[in-house]
């Protein structure tokens, strides 16, 4: 499938600021099932550093703008050819040992509700395989947190989302990571894009899911929000321990005043 992405982020400042500096993780991962046809990242007026790969295989670049400014735009657009790999991340060059992804951050720290969810889910599974346990956990998270935009915010932790009983993909992913860790499985946060409509029409499409390390298979994606594994409708950008760590854009406003942020991500499946 050919997916076309147009991702615009626009910052507006009430009073001009001294500039911005950002670390961008906005170039799709290089792996089987995901081939970049063309891709561009542009920040008008900014100095953009060279793209490099970190140990997790993410493509990162630094962007800085040091002039007095009241708006900043980060424009991403491109075309990616995807294939359904049944969620398995294959041919992805990375150097981080999977066991390093056993640690929690404040955002993925489990609470009692998450512990109980894991215990209840796994109690009936006997000696099921790691893959089956991961699938079962994804379903359990899906049921525990009905998809509800607006119920949580950017800084909501897994524990808070669990108490709320509602969430969006970020919350599902945080809870999923917490669950996987309790089940003894390395897990991480993945940010990317999702083409969610059947008819290929354009729509809002930033997305996040979890990857869980399964011995013998490697990293496997689990999208608890959709109770499925990533397929050819997904584009993988990069990973981290949680939403902040895996954020497509991490930045600072220099000499910054309040900002308003406008993000649009449009993805469409191109007719073949």
């Amino acid at each position: 499938m050919i997916l076309t992405v147009v991702h615009k982020t626009r910052y507006e400042f009430a009073t001009p600021v001294g500039g911005i500096i950002q670390s961008l993780r906005l170039t799709p991962a290089r792996c089987e099932g995901q081939k970049i046809v063309n891709w561009s990242v542009d920040v008008p007026g900014a100095v953009i550093g060279g793209l490099f790969s970190d140990g997790a295989g993410d493509h990162i670049q630094t962007v800085s703008l040091r002039n007095l400014t009241s708006t900043v735009e980060v424009n991403v657009s491109g075309k990616v050819e995807t294939q359904d790999m049944a969620g398995v991340l294959r041919g992805h060059r990375e150097r981080v040992p999977p066991r390093a992804y056993m640690r929690n951050t404040p955002r993925t720290e489990p609470n009692r509700a998450i512990r109980e969810l894991v215990e209840d889910t796994l109690a009936v599974m006997g000696t099921a395989s790691a893959l089956d346990r991961a699938h079962a956990l994804a379903s359990a998270v899906h049921k525990a947190l009905p998809y509800t935009p607006g119920a949580t915010h950017a800084h909501t932790t897994a524990a808070e989302a669990m108490n709320e009983g509602l969430g969006v993909c970020q919350d599902h992913t945080h809870v999923m990571i917490a669950c996987a860790h309790l089940a003894g499985l390395p897990a991480r946060y993945v940010s990317g894009y999702l083409n969610a409509t059947e008819d290929g029409s354009p729509h809002e499409a930033s997305h996040a899911w979890a990857e869980i390390y399964i011995d013998g298979l490697g990293w496997v994606g689990f999208d608890a929000s959709n109770e499925s594994c990533p397929n050819d409708h997904y584009i993988r950008l990069g990973s981290g321990l949680d939403a902040q760590d895996a954020a497509p854009i991490r930045g600072l406003v220099l000499g910054g005043a309040e900002e308003s942020l406008d993000v649009t991500v449009v993805i469409e499946a191109q007719q073949q």
Binding site: I21, Q22, S23, V47, I48, G49, G50, F52, D54, G55, A56, I60, Q61, T62, S64, R66, E94, R95, V96, P97, R99, A100, Y101, M102, R103, L241, Q244, R250, G251, L252
Partner: protein
């Protein structure tokens, strides 16, 4: 009472050889002269501005670390063995770091448990797979040693991040040379004044491959509220490099720049004296204002070298410590020259049980703690203190390790009544770059209270000049 301890000046046969050159000096010193000299020393330290902030209630931010004028002396042959042991350990620690951020051969070989390394908070995922220049992570290794006998030295802990105290080593010598110049004419004391030149050479040797000229080196300090700020400015001065705070640097494109009155100047090597977590708000703690946003991207794409390398802390963790002799064998194929103190890991149930039953005999420390805070010295603690500590320990045993109370050697120290033995330790500073260098000496810390085994300056310890008698 002190016969149970190795006395570095007197043994069964009287004065030990390294101290012979001092005999006349302290025996003939009139009490008033001593008091006068002690006051002069304090005055010199105040003038140098060398102070050490003490944290906590009632801490005095401008307190002087007490200086004891009686030098601690090593003979040339004693030092030769120590030097070999220290350099060996510093090389092994760096080999370990370079390995665990690469293929992890020592883990694959089953010599160190994977989880101890990879689940360690000090293991930085952000630098996994990145090889810093020359593969060196810890450029200044501070190794804390204690002595229990003529030939018995134990390593208490390794400091691979940003060990402090080297300014005291240098200033203690400076003060002694000003106050007692004749001592240095009568004794062949190996000089330390090469340290700054060697440090600068070490830092320059790890400049990024992209740097094609004399590297621009800076020292990055958290600022003057930091307890070691004096040392940061002292070292910058000695090396003739800029002392900067995070706000003096910025990232643009693929490089890190320093603001100067003549415009931006590229920075090649940063000797940072701030913790990993604060280095870059775009990679680590987003609320850090001490670091440089974007720095880790520049570092990881080879635009700047950070010393010590982010992630170096995984080698000096107290739980990893147990495995350092194994690292020496595994990476260097050598027998470890310096011994570890036997250590019980409270994370292991059977070892925790032993610790619980023997608290009164053991020293119990936090795995990630430093500075002598939050530790229990069993033999010096009363029953109530031990009980309180046992409760704290039970809350999170995995956070603690325990060691036997070592019979730390003593060194003569000036006290009210003359001289008396006091317990000492030693922190030498090993430099690792293209070469591995060690100046002949280190920081000797002394527990000034009679019988005390806690030498930390934050707990009332003092310091001494440390001599190595040069070879004939």
């Amino acid at each position: 009472m002190s016969e149970a301890y190795f006395n570095e000046m007197y043994d069964g046969n009287g004065l030990r050889p390294p101290y012979r050159g001092l005999e006349g000096w302290y025996q003939d010193m009139p009490t008033e002269f001593r008091a006068f000299k002690q006051a002069e020393a304090e005055d010199l330290f105040r003038r140098f501005g060398i102070t050490f902030a003490v944290y906590g209630d009632g801490g005095d931010p401008d307190r002087l670390i007490p200086f004891d004028m009686f030098p601690r002396v090593f003979a040339a042959d004693e030092w030769r063995r120590l030097e070999r042991g220290i350099k060996q350990r510093a090389r092994a620690l760096n080999a370990f770091l370079s390995d665990v951020y690469d293929r992890g051969e020592i883990i694959r070989a089953g010599r160190i448990p994977a989880d101890l390394v990879y689940r360690n908070e000090a293991y930085e995922i952000a630098v996994a797979g990145f090889r810093p220049p020359l593969g060196i992570f810890s450029h200044i290794v501070g190794i804390d040693l204690v002595r229990t006998g003529v030939d018995q030295f134990y390593v208490l802990e390794d400091n691979c991040r940003t060990p402090s105290g080297v300014s005291y080593m240098l200033e203690n010598r400076e003060v002694m040379m000003r106050m007692f110049p004749h001592l240095f004419q009568e004794n062949r004391v190996a000089p330390l004044d090469n340290y700054a030149r060697l440090l600068k050479r070490t830092l320059a040797s790890v400049a990024p491959a992209k740097c094609d000229r004399e590297p621009n080196i800076v020292i990055l300090t958290p600022g003057h509220y930091n307890s070691a700020y004096y040392e940061h400015s002292f070292l910058a001065d000695l090396m003739g490099v800029e002392l900067v705070e995070g706000q003096d640097l910025f990232v643009e494109g693929d490089f890190c720049w320093m603001r100067t009155t003549q415009g931006p100047r590229k920075v090649d090597v940063i000797y940072r004296r701030i913790d990993d977590a604060f280095l870059d708000p775009l990679c680590f703690r987003p609320d850090s204002t001490l670091g440089v946003p974007g720095l880790m991207n520049v570092y990881r794409s080879g635009g700047v070298t950070i010393c010590s390398a982010p992630g170096a802390g995984v080698a000096d963790d107290k739980a990893i410590y147990t495995f350092v002799p194994e690292m020496v064998r595994f990476y260097l194929g050598e027998a470890p020259i310096l011994e570890n103190v036997p250590t019980w890991q409270c994370a292991k149930p059977d070892e925790y049980k032993y610790v619980q039953e023997h608290l009164a005999e053991l020293v119990v420390k936090e795995v990630h703690g430093s500075g002598g805070y939050g530790m229990l010295v069993g033999p010096k603690a009363d029953k109530a203190t031990i009980e309180t500590f046992a409760a704290k320990l039970a809350e999170n045993p995995g956070n603690y390790i325990a060691q036997p109370t070592l019979a730390l050697s003593t060194c003569p120290t000036f006290v009210e009544e003359g001289i008396a033995p006091r317990h000492v330790d030693l922190r030498p500073y090993c430099l690792v770059g293209r070469d591995v260098d060690l100046v002949p000496g280190g920081l000797t810390r002394v527990a000034l209270t009679e019988g005390s085994l806690v030498v930390n300056s934050s707990q009332g310890g003092g310091v001494k000049d440390t001599w190595v008698i040069a070879e004939e």
